[in-house]
Every structure is written in C-alpha cells, then in structure tokens.
C-alpha cells in the first residue's frame, strides 16, 4: 500500500515554525524528518514516523507554493489563495529574508551576479550552510538589490515598503545593498575578525553622511540628472576629500595638529607616548585614505586600509578603546583650531563618519 497522494488544506493555512525553519535551512524532506525525529517530537506527540513524513511533505509543499509570493511580499498580503493571519504573514516574510551571519560575510561587498552565484557551492562547503539555503539568501540579496537599486529616497524606507521587513532587517538589507553597490572588500584575511554587524554599522553611517541622499534632505530639483540615492557615494564629496591632503602634506600643519592634540590629551591617555610617536603615521593613514577615495579601487579597499592604517597600529600598541575614542575625538576637533585649514565642513563630514566606523572596527 503506497500513498499516491496525501494532502491537507486548511481554510487558514497552517504554518509550522519549526518545519519552516528546516525548509529555509534547505533541508530535504527526508533530512527534515530525521531532524524532527531527533528533536523528540515523536515521543512528545505519540505520532509515527509516517505521520511525520506526511506532515513534513505537506508543509514543504505549502512553503513551495508560498515561495513565489514571498519573492514579492506585498503580493502575499493581497493574494486570496492562502488565508494567513497578518502576524503569520509577517513571520513568514521576516524569516524568509533572514540570512545567516556566516553566509552574509562571504558575499558582503561582492557583486551580486551570476559569477558569485557560481561560488555558492564553495560558500556552502565552507560555511556548512546548505546550498539551497545559500541560493535563497543570495537570491534575496539580489532581488532586494534589483528592486531598490534605481530607487530614489531612503534606502531603508524603500526596502521596507517593497519587502515589508522589520526595521532591523531592512537596515541590514540596506547595508548589504550599499556594500554590494560599492563593492567594498570585506573578505580579506585582515578583515575576518569583523562581523556583519560591524560593517552594517559603518554602512549606516556612510549612507547617512557620505551619499547623495545625505546632502539634501529635500532635493532642490527632483528632476535633475543627479541621483538622489542612498546607494551611491557622493562623487563630489569624494573628489573634495583630496583637499584634506594638506593636513599631512603641509609639515607645519601636521606639527601644529599634533601639538594641539598632544596638549589636550597629555595625562589623559594610558598610551600617550605611543600616541605621540605614532601620531604622524596615524594621521597620514587617515588622511591618505580620504584622499584616495576618488578611485573606485581604493573605495573598495576602504575597510582594508582603515584596518591596516589605523586599527592594527593601535592594536599592536594595546590602545584601550577609551583611548582610541579620546584620541579620535580630539584628533577631529583640533582641526578646527588650525587656522590655515579651510575645509572644516568637509573634514567634519569625513571624520565624523570615519570616527564612528573606526570605533566600531576597533576590537579584537
């Protein structure tokens, strides 16, 4: 006696959260059944393996049918075929778009193209995440990217509006889109210690301060060719950053800057002497990073440079985080007292964000 057909359809679509997770994780029906058996569900409910198999199949079929709708979440809300309570709809969407930390670290900053998709096999092997799940996550990134890429207005708002994600998840996706668009390098060995959260934090700061959307809250001319978008860095701003070079190129200015910082921080830093000896190197590093951002290649290497030029030197001298904070604050503020320096606003836009990023990046 073999089961040819076995279905269960509820007027309200039944969603089993555990099975949904297994499905999202890319397990086959048989693997999912095995995992469920291991969870002890048979003992709890007195069900048989056959029942579990049938139940799992059924849920998988439902999820498979829902997947098409999950690709455009507003459709899930308006469709008539599956009657699902709103809270469940939200759960379905949120979970579907949730990604694995391990996975996102692998693709963050990479071009969301076919080429990358081919690498998913390797990523799957490396991270232990099933290929199916990798595909789903990758496709989610790509789908969100495609939809919001050309859109005006706030990146987070756009994502939320088109994918109905929670604020938190929408912010993460904004970071992913931002990184993918600017192709920031995140995979270097030096950067392995950084979490997705670190990058997402930086992305948010950069979106807020360094993109076109950041300049004008209300764009003066909405029809202008200039893109009012969160995804692209403000090219003009990057060009202008060259001007900051004077801070390290002009020896007097550099000395003055150093003395200003040292005066204030003397006795306040546990690593004062290290700071004093390293000041010029650190300052050169930070300013050179800014000056190089006109080239796409250097933009991509932003995080590598920051870690190399600032984080690593400090870390090797065992700067405590509080000292880093004090230093960076004083380093930024002191520039205002440099009479010969005319790019105060530019400096603040650059350093304000960079300071935030560096503090976040500075950990073991």
């Amino acid at each position: 006696m073999t089961s040819e057909l076995d279905i269960f359809v509820g007027n309200t679509t039944l969603i089993d959260e555990d099975v949904y997770r297994l499905w999202l994780d890319g397990y086959s029906v048989n693997d999912a059944v095995a995992l469920r058996v291991r969870s002890g569900i048979l003992e709890q409910t007195g069900a048989t393996a056959g029942v579990l198999q049938s139940d799992t199949m059924d849920h998988y079929r439902t999820f498979h049918m829902l997947e098409r709708l999950l690709h455009a979440p507003p459709k899930l809300l308006h469709q008539l075929i599956f009657q699902i309570p709103p809270s469940r709809q939200a759960l379905l969407i949120e979970r579907y778009y949730t990604f694995d930390e391990a996975f996102v670290r692998e693709v963050l900053g990479k071009k969301l193209s076919k080429g990358t998709k081919k690498d998913l096999d390797d990523i799957s092997t490396k991270t232990g995440i099933t290929l199916k799940s990798c595909r789903r996550q990758f496709d989610n990134f790509k789908r969100v990217f495609k939809v919001v890429e050309e859109m005006r207005g706030s990146l987070v708002d756009n994502i939320q509006q088109h994918f109905l994600l929670s604020d938190r998840l929408a912010r993460d996706y904004a970071a992913i889109v931002f990184f993918a668009n600017n192709r920031f390098e995140t995979g270097k060995k030096k950067l392995q210690y950084l979490s997705f959260g670190d990058f997402a934090f930086c992305a948010e700061l950069m979106i807020q301060n360094w993109t076109l959307g950041a300049v004008g809250e209300a764009p003066t001319d909405p029809d202008s060719q200039m893109d009012d978008m969160d995804v692209d860095l403000d090219k003009e701003f990057l060009q202008d950053l060259k001007e900051l070079k004077v801070l390290v190129a002009d020896k007097d200015l550099l000395d003055l800057h150093k003395s200003l910082v040292c005066t204030v921080l003397r006795g306040k830093l546990s690593v004062f002497s290290e700071m004093e000896t390293n000041f010029k190197n650190l300052s050169r590093g930070l300013v050179n990073v800014a000056a190089k951002l006109t080239h796409n290649k250097d933009v991509r290497d932003l995080f590598v440079d920051l870690v190399e030029k600032f984080v690593e030197p400090c870390r090797s001298d065992h700067w405590p985080l509080s000292d880093v904070r004090l230093f960076l604050t004083q380093y930024s503020v002191s520039v205002h007292s440099l009479d010969g320096f005319r790019h105060q606003v530019l400096w603040d836009r650059y350093m304000g964000t960079l300071r935030g990023c560096l503090l976040r990046l500075y950990h073991d």
Partner: protein, 1072 residues
C-alpha cells in the same frame, strides 16, 4: 422583463504576463449574461488594469436571473492573432434575488482558468433591480430562500415545516460529446462548468416553485448533488425541507452571548419573544391538577384543531409509571393518526433536517435505510450532439424532448427507494423520517442508490399551517420533560415489528426505551448525556469479481447485505467497546469499484442517560477445554475489558448508579445475554463467565471460531483513541463539551493509496483500509496539535475508488478549541445541568418544585401533557433502534429478501439486552448553574479585515450569525497537462483545493459576508494519468454565506446575559 442586472468592471490586479516581449498584458473583459455580451476597453500594458467601466445593463426575465450565472471573461488583446483568455469568473446572482439577503455583490474575485488555476483577480460590482411580478403562472421562484444548514437557521423561526422537496435535472455530459474530441480541454471544461451552473440554477428554481406551491418561503437542509454518469449523462438532483420561516425581528436583542449552540438553540424560542405566551404561561401548565384541561392553542390550524385540542385536553389519569398503559394506547394512536393527517398527505414525509426546533421531535425509532443497484443505460441519441455542439453558450436542454423517459427513470428509481424508506419507518411505528439524505456511488455503468434517515414521530403542530405563534412555545413546555422523550420507543410494545429488548427509561422511569439507539440526526440539544462522545467508524472492504453489466450488478446486490450486516456488527462492537449506548449522525457509505466494494460508517457514540448501561463484550472460544487456547482467549478478554475500562475513563462515562432497592425493579424481567453468534455453538460456561466479569449487566459475546473472527477482535482493538486533548465527532457539536472558544480551523485532507495488486484478500484489504483511515486521523491530530484542547467536529469521510487499485479518502472537518478548565467543570455538572435546566424551565412556568427521577414518588405528576401521554402509553412499545434498520436492496434483477430476513434475525440476536433497573438520579451540584453559566465568551481578537471563516457546522463558536446572505454552490474543474511541473498529484490537488477555498471566500466576501457555515465538499473527483503527465479534478462545494458578529463585540448583549442565565440556577432545586 422583470429584472435589470447591472454590472461594473472596476479593476484587475496581479494579472499574469501574457506578452512575453513586454512582460505585460493588454487586458479587457467580456461580461456575458444569457446571450448578451458587453466588453470593456482594452487597458494597455498593465498587470493591474483600471477599467472603471460604465454600468453594463442586462434586461432579463427573473427565470433567467435564477438559472443563468453571470459570466466574466478576462482576455488579453492581441492585434494579430486571436485574443487569449486569461480566465473566467462565474457569479451566481441568486443571493441578490431575495429581499433580505445581499443587496450588492462587490469585491475582488479570483480569475480562474481550468488549466492554469487562479490568475490574478478582478474587481466587479453587480446589482439587480427587480420589478414586482404578480403573474401567478410564473416559472421563476425568486424570493425563496435556500439554506444548506440542516437546522432552522439561527436568525429565523420556523412557522411551519412543510416537508420534503426534491427535483432532478438530467443532461448529457459535455465531456462525452463527440465535439470533445476536437475541442480543447479548456473549452470542454468550461462547457461543463457552465452547464452544471445552469442546471443547478434550474434545479433550484424548480425546487423553489414547489416550495411556493406548498406555501413555504424557504428550503432548509438543501442538498444538491451531481451524478457523473459518464456516457449516460449528468444528473443534478437536490433534496430539501420546505419551510415557512419568519425572520426574528431583532435576532440579537435578547439572545445571550453564549458559547454553546445547544444553549442558544434551547433558549432562542424564549428569547425571540420575551413573553411567549402571556395569557397562558401561568395556568396553561397542568400543575398537579390532573384534570386540567386548558388548551393553550385554540387557534391551531382549522382543519386539525379538533384533534389537537383533544390531545392537550386529555385528562391526566393515573400517571404512575407503567400503570397507564392501557389508557395511553389509544392516545398514542390518536397522536399518530393526527400527525399522519398532517404529514402523510405528502408523498414522502421526510425532513432533511438533523436538528429540530424544540418540541418538534417526539420520538425516534431508529435508522432506516434502503439501497438499490441500478444499471445505467447508454443513450443513443444523435439528435443531441448537433445541438449541443453548435453553440458556445448552451441553452439548457430539456431532456424530455429528446428522451422522454430519461428523467422519469431517475425519478422512478428514487421514488422506489423513498417508498421503501417510508414503509420501513412505518414498520417502526413512525410516520416520518428525519435526518434524511440520499447518495449514489457510480462505477462504470453500475450505480448504487442509497437513502437513509431516522424514523421518527414528530409533533404535528409544526407541520401545519395556521399554528399560532404562542403555541409553539407552549408546545416546548409540554414536550421537554427531562430530555429523554425522544428515546422513548414510538412503536407499540405489544406489536413490535421485531423482537427487541426494552427497559424503562433510566431518566424518567415512565417510558420504555431500547437498549441501543442508532440515528442519523444530531444529538438533540436537550438530551441528557453522560461523559463525552466520540467518533466511531466501521470500515469494511469486500472483493468482487470484475464483471460486466447485469452480472456485475447481481454480484454487487449479493454482496451488499453481507456488508451492511458486517458494518452494523462492527459499529455495535465498537460502541460497546467505548462503553456507550447510542449513535448519532450515522452515515453509512457504500462505494463501488471495479473489483471491490467499500463500506464506511461514521457516527458519534454517546452515553445517553436514558438508556441502559451497555454490557461488555465477551469472548468465547470454540474449544473451551483446550488450555492454551483458553489462556489466549482470556488474554484477549482481559484486553477487551481493559479497553472498555480505559474508554470509560477517557470519555468520562460514569453514570450514576443507584441501587435497586431504592428504585425497585419496575420490570421483573429475567436478565438476558445478548450474543453475536458466529456459529451455532453454545458453550455452557459462558453464563458464569458473564456473571463474573460483568456482574449484572448484559454482555456481548464474540465467539472466536475462525480466523475471521479473530481478525475482527484484533481490528476492534487497533482503533487507537485520539491523543489527549483531542476529541472527535461527526455531529455538529461534541456531546459533553459546551465551552467552545472562538478559534476554528476547517480543513480538507485527501489521501489516495495504491494497493499492491498481488494476493489481495478481504483481510488484507480491510487491514489496509483500516490503516488508511487510522493514519489519516493520526495525521490530523498531529497537524492540529497546536490547537489542543480541541475537538474535530463534523468529521466527514468520503471514500471513492477512482481506479482498480486506488482508494481515495477525503475528509473535511473543523477543529474547534475549547476551554479545558471549564470543560472539566462542565463535564461534572453537565448531566445535572441539562436535567436542571430542563426541570427549571418547566418549573419556571409551574412555580412549584418539580421532581425528577421520581421513582420514589411515582405518582408525582409531570407537568406536561405530552409527558403524560407518553407515560400513559408506556406499556406499548417495540424494538430497538437499529435492530429495525431495514436493509433492503432492490436490485434491477433480484431482490435478496432472504438475506434481509437473515440479517434481521442476526440483528435481533445481537441486541438482546438485559434490564437494569437503575435510575439516573441527578443531584443538584453545588457549583450549579450559576457557576457553569457564568463563563463568558473568551476575549477573542477582533477578526482581521477580509478574513472569511469556513465551517461545516451551522454556527460559529463565540459568535452570533446576524444575517444569511444566500447559498454558495460552486462547481470547478481543474485540469493539467504538466502534472510533474505542478508538483505531482499532491501538488496539483493541494493547489486546487486551496484555490477552491479562495474562490468560496472571495464570493462570500463580495456578498458582504465573513463566513460560510454548513460548508460541505460534496464531490471531489480526481483522475490522473501520470504516464501522460495529466490529471483532472472536479470539485463541488456548497454552504451558506453569512455575516456573524463576535460575541465580545456584543457588549450590550452580554450585559443582559446574567439576567437570562440566573433563572435556572435559582430555581434548580432537585429532590429525589
């Protein structure tokens, strides 16, 4: 031109991409009614077109309005080639034709294509302007309301129940026309959908005409079915109960917010009229005055008032239990006679109702059923084909003009069966059949027609016109002594149709009751039940040789009696195993396949307090002296006894036992064993065994004399009880659970299994089938585990045999959550509760303490005249319910009457029970009614916008139905030629059923409703051809679209609740 139909096409959304190049669609819409078609403009390049059309107006006959569906076709405009159809929407505009139902249909409808399924949605507004037409010879029956619900709909009151209406319409099936060979599957499917829609409309109109003729205004319990007879055609038939309904002026005004439907039903008659019988409420009850002779209902119908009055005038003489037998006899006859006058004028005194207004159901006789095997004739009629094929829109053919005897043939077949049912009912001393239903099973050219129902005695006053409003309520008072009246035998004890075993009612001690009661109706709301009920199923397969035509039919007719007998035996055994004594909602389905017959009986077992405690099951071996064998037997016996004990605990069956000294033994009858004799052997030691293990109770003996019997015993024990927190039943409500919370989940589950064709034996088949059903149930319990504690209600199994080795089982049911804590309380208090309530209700009117279970005071008068009558005739009575179940198979060829005799004989032996003189004395519980009733509707989250609930029940827990919007009756076909791509058979059917639900919900929402009640999937015909990667499925669903209001939203109402509720509790002092 009595009607103007107006349609507006507003917009579309989520349309499929029809133009690959642009990834867009140029959509327009054709709106068609009858032969008139309108078109909208083409809305270029959009998947969300905004047509916002003008009002398309159709001026039509109301006859057409009833028959025709509105047909909306969405197409993709193509400049160079033919326009591609995206899909269609059929809208039944019938709900717009009654004054009280919907006034406008407006909303988003899924656009459905028979090949692709749902493809986007379309927003449509439909209105109808009806002009009054006073033509007496009209062919339309606009205004007659239809309800699928098999009880009086919640916001109506039955003024008169006129009786049975039936009709059938026959046509050729478009699928079997020659043109089908050249047209696309889509065209063929659409032709079929449209034809069936037309036929349903016509059928409904014709039934409506019959109702108008009977001077009714509604059809309740409307059941429409399709017989896909293949080459020989397509039959659409319907049955229902014609009624005159009265809308309650303010249905919610007085109704308390109650969770339990039973309460609701019980109380509604009082509530709808706060002072039901102002002039007679006090004095109308006879009180102790034994010669009281007030007739509260002077203005009953003219033609029958004399007999009615006689009835209520009857002096109450000598109501001592049993003593009034002789005087009672003629009264009973009178009652019957007089009801006959009301009902038997009609050809078939049948009601399709399963629940009744209080007071209507007087006695229940037992299940009556009839089956007949017929050969479907092939029709050679070339004239047809030409006409049907030519036109794209079929005008419904009048079959009569082609083959004059065709509908008559079908009519005659059914008439024959109904006649049988009627005569069976008569044999049980009943003049009516309630809970009546009809079904067919078709395989190739063989068709089994089945009909079944419950023989009953009804109160005639509901069945006659001119009944005064007050009298109905009055009747209730008279009729509800203690909720056991319906159990009392309707037949004459001295002239029983079958030998049966009777005892005095364990509840009132005045009337005779059978030892077991089988019925097809729902548990009467006032019935006193001990513990909880449970789903009981008997399952059976029988192999049959493949044969052609008459030989095949003969083979089937020969098998049927065996099957029926076995099914009954199984039911009986399982009932005993559960420690229960009555079955409700019994539905026996016999399905015929190429090489086998399947029998599936489902019912809800309960312990009725009025009936005697069922005995256990005894196992006897054929060789009593063989030691090891004995051991085996005793082992089995122990297992069975353990199971019974466990079940009693599980279902909380602990009927209060009262020692015989208190009660006395009213019927000094020797105790008897009932036996199921498989062989004729009688082993002498059984008697002692019996007494040892079961004390004074009668027992049921299973003799194990062959492997078959062994198998039976095993199968008895393989039924596993549902996991804790779950209950199941196939009736509307679960006996013993009243505190439903608002969460409901309706579902349909379908399974198809393939049997290995090798060495199929009956046993292997039975085992497979049993396993299939049990596993299905287990799966349901597992799936719904998050809802516990909950109950699966209205569990409806349907079996079909689509192919040689395939068995398809379809289950539709609803899971309803309930409050566990309250449940415990309820169970304890339940028996007392109903008793108290019944008594209290009486007391209210009586204003003197009523004594129940008054065996110690046998002379105490019961107030109601009806009760009086019953006790008077208590000595005349006859057999037990299902013992009298008539099994009859009128086959085309031979009637197997000899078998019937055999079965009857066997059935008699099964149910010879002993008399147990126990009274169910119900003590007033300290927690009492106040406690019990004060539960309030749990706070339920206000339903989200757009949610449409679906339920096979007639009510929605925790909510009040405020309006019925009309009947939903939809027929869909879905076909695929890419089965694998759609996820195989499971994926295909899963998607289709989900789509059907969606379309039902969309129609309900468009009518302005938020739920479908009495939902039923009447047909789910699934055919596959995996090798061709094809499958096809036909689904027919129906139900009543309603508007409900959450009780939590009825704050005002709940404020009134205590006032209503405290009545019983303050009067409920029961003495013994």
């Amino acid at each position: 031109m009595p009607g103007k139909l107006k349609v507006k096409i507003v917009a579309g959304r989520h349309l499929p991409v029809m133009d690959r190049a642009s990834d867009l669609t140029d959509a327009f819409v054709e709106v068609k009614f009858g032969n008139t078609t309108f078109k909208t403009d083409v809305y270029l390049k959009s998947l969300n077109p905004q047509w916002n059309s003008e009002w398309f107006k159709f001026e039509v006959d109301d006859e057409d309005l009833q028959d025709e569906p509105l047909q909306i076709t969405v197409l993709d405009h193509d400049t160079y080639s033919a326009n591609d159809a995206i899909g269609k929407v059929y809208i039944d505009i019938d709900p717009l034709l009654y004054s009280e139902a919907a006034t406008v249909i407006s909303g988003w409808f899924p656009i459905y294509d028979t090949i692709h399924g749902i493809r986007g949605e379309i927003n449509v507004v439909v209105k109808v302007d009806l002009f009054n037409d006073l033509n007496r010879f009209r062919q339309s029956s606009c205004g007659v309301k239809f309800f699928c619900t098999t009880s009086i709909p919640k916001c109506y009151r039955a003024v008169v129940i006129h009786g049975f209406v039936e009709e059938l319409v026959v046509n050729e099936d478009p699928e079997y026309q020659w043109i089908d060979r050249i047209r696309t599957p889509r065209a063929s499917n659409e032709a079929r959908q449209r034809l069936i829609s037309l036929m349903s409309g016509e059928l409904q109109r014709k039934i409506g005409l019959k109702v108008l003729e009977m001077r009714g205004n509604a059809v309740v319990g409307y059941l429409q079915c399709f017989d896909l007879e293949g080459e020989s055609g397509l039959v659409v038939r319907a049955i229902g109960t014609a009624c005159t309904l009265d809308k309650l002026s303010s249905p919610a005004a007085f109704l308390p917010a109650c969770n339990s439907p039973s309460k609701e039903m019980k109380e509604s008659p009082f509530n709808e009229d706060p002072n039901p019988n102002p002039h007679s409420s006090g004095p109308s009850t006879p009180l102790k005055n034994q010669t009281y002779s007030f007739s509260p209902s002077k203005s009953y119908s003219r033609q029958s008032s004399s007999s009615d009055t006689d009835l209520s005038l009857t002096p109450k003489t000598g109501t001592g239990s049993g003593s009034a037998g002789k005087e009672g006899g003629p009264l009973k006859a009178l009652l019957r006679q007089q009801t006959q006058s009301a009902l038997e004028q009609r050809e078939f005194p049948f009601l399709t109702l399963t629940a009744f207004p209080p007071g209507l159901l007087v006695h229940v006789g037992g299940v009556v059923s009839a089956r007949s095997v017929k050969l479907l004739d092939r029709i050679h009629n070339p004239a047809f084909v030409g006409i049907m094929g030519n036109t794209r829109s079929y005008k419904l053919l009048d079959w009569n003009s082609f083959n004059s005897d065709e509908p008559e043939t079908r009519d005659a077949w059914w008439a024959e069966i109904r006649q049988e049912i009627k005569s069976h009912a008569k044999a049980l001393g009943c003049h009516a059949v309630v809970g009546y239903s009809e079904s067919t099973s078709i395989c190739e050219e063989v068709c089994i027609l089945s009909a079944s129902g419950t023989a009953a005695v009804l109160n005639p006053r509901f069945l006659q016109e001119g009944t005064v409003e007050g009298s109905l309520e009055q009747r209730i008072e008279e009729n509800l002594p203690v909720g056991c009246g319906f159990c009392h035998i309707p037949y004459d004890e001295l002239n029983m149709p079958f030998p049966a075993h009777l005892t005095y009612c364990y509840n009132c001690r005045k009337q005779k009751v059978p030892d077991v009661l089988f019925t097809t109706i729902d548990l009467p709301t006032d019935a006193v039940v001990v513990g909880k009920g449970c789903l009981i199923q008997a399952r059976l397969c029988r192999l049959k040789k493949k044969a052609q035509a008459e030989a095949n039919a003969t083979a089937i007719s020969n098998l049927l009696p065996f099957m029926e007998y076995e099914v009954h035996t199984q039911l009986m055994n399982k009932l005993k195993l559960k420690g229960m004594n009555a079955l409700f909602g019994l539905r026996i389905q016999i399905t015929v396949g190429e090489n086998m017959l399947m029998g599936l009986a489902s019912a809800t077992g309960v312990y009725l307090a009025a009936l005697p405690t069922p005995g256990g099951i005894q196992i006897a071996g054929k060789t009593p002296n063989d030691g090891s064998y004995e051991q085996h037997i005793s082992h089995m016996q122990k297992k069975i006894n353990d199971t019974i004990a466990k079940n009693k605990e599980l279902y909380e069956i602990n009927p209060p036992e009262v020692s015989e000294e208190i009660i006395g033994s009213p019927i000094p009858e020797p105790r008897q064993r009932s036996r199921l004799l498989r062989s004729q052997s009688e082993s002498s030691d059984e008697v002692t065994e019996l007494d040892l293990s079961h004390g004074k109770k009668d027992a049921f003996v299973l003799e194990i004399d062959d492997a078959d019997a062994m198998e039976d015993v095993h199968s008895l024990l393989t039924d596993v009880p549902p996991p804790s927190g779950f209950y199941s039943c196939n009736t509307e409500i679960m006996p013993g659970i009243n505190n439903w919370t608002s969460e409901i989940q309706m579902f349909t589950s379908v399974r198809v299994v393939r049997l290995s064709s090798l060495n199929l034996t009956n046993q292997a088949l039975n085992k497979n089938f049993n396993g299939l059903c049990e596993n299905l149930l287990k799966s349901l319990y597992f799936k719904l585990r998050s809802m516990t504690p909950c109950c699966l209600c209205h569990v409806n199994f349907t079996v079909s045999l689509p192919e040689d080795e395939l068995i398809q089982v379809t289950v539709t049911a609803v899971a309803i959550t309930f409050d566990k804590n309250q449940a415990l309380q309820t169970t304890k208090a339940h028996a007392e509760k109903s008793l108290q309530r019944a008594s209290a209700d009486n007391e209210e009117m009586l204003q003197f303490p009523l004594e129940l279970c008054s065996d110690s005071l046998p002379s105490h008068a019961f107030p109601a005249a009806k009760e009086h009558l019953e006790s008077a005739s208590s000595n005349s009575g006859t057999p037990a319910a299902q013992r009298a179940t008539s099994v009859d198979y009128s086959s085309f060829a031979d009637r197997c009457s000899s078998w019937i005799e055999l079965i009857k004989l066997k059935a008699q032996t099964i149910r010879r029970g002993s008399i147990k003189t126990t009274v169910t004395v119900e003590k007033a519980s300290p927690m009492g009614d106040g406690n019990f009733r004060n539960r309030s509707a749990p706070p339920c989250a206000s339903s989200t916008v757009g949610v449409v609930k679906m339920t096979p029940l007639s009510f929605i827990p925790g909510a009040k139905i405020t309006k019925y919007l009309g009947i939903i009756n939809m027929f869909f076909i879905r076909e695929t030629t890419s089965l694998r791509e759609e996820g195989g058979v499971s994926g295909f059917l899963h998607a289709f059923i989900a789509e059907v639900f969606a379309m039902v919900r969309a129609h309900v929402a468009a009518l302005g409703g938020n739920a479908v009640v009495s939902y039923i999937m009447k047909q789910c015909v699934f055919m596959e051809n995996p090798s061709k990667n094809q499958a096809q499925c036909l689904i027919n669903v129906s139900g009543d679209a309603v508007v409900f209001v959450r009780e939590s939203d009825l704050e005002v109402m709940s404020a009134q609740q205590p006032a209503v509720n405290c009545q019983p509790s303050c009067t409920g002092e029961v003495t013994t």
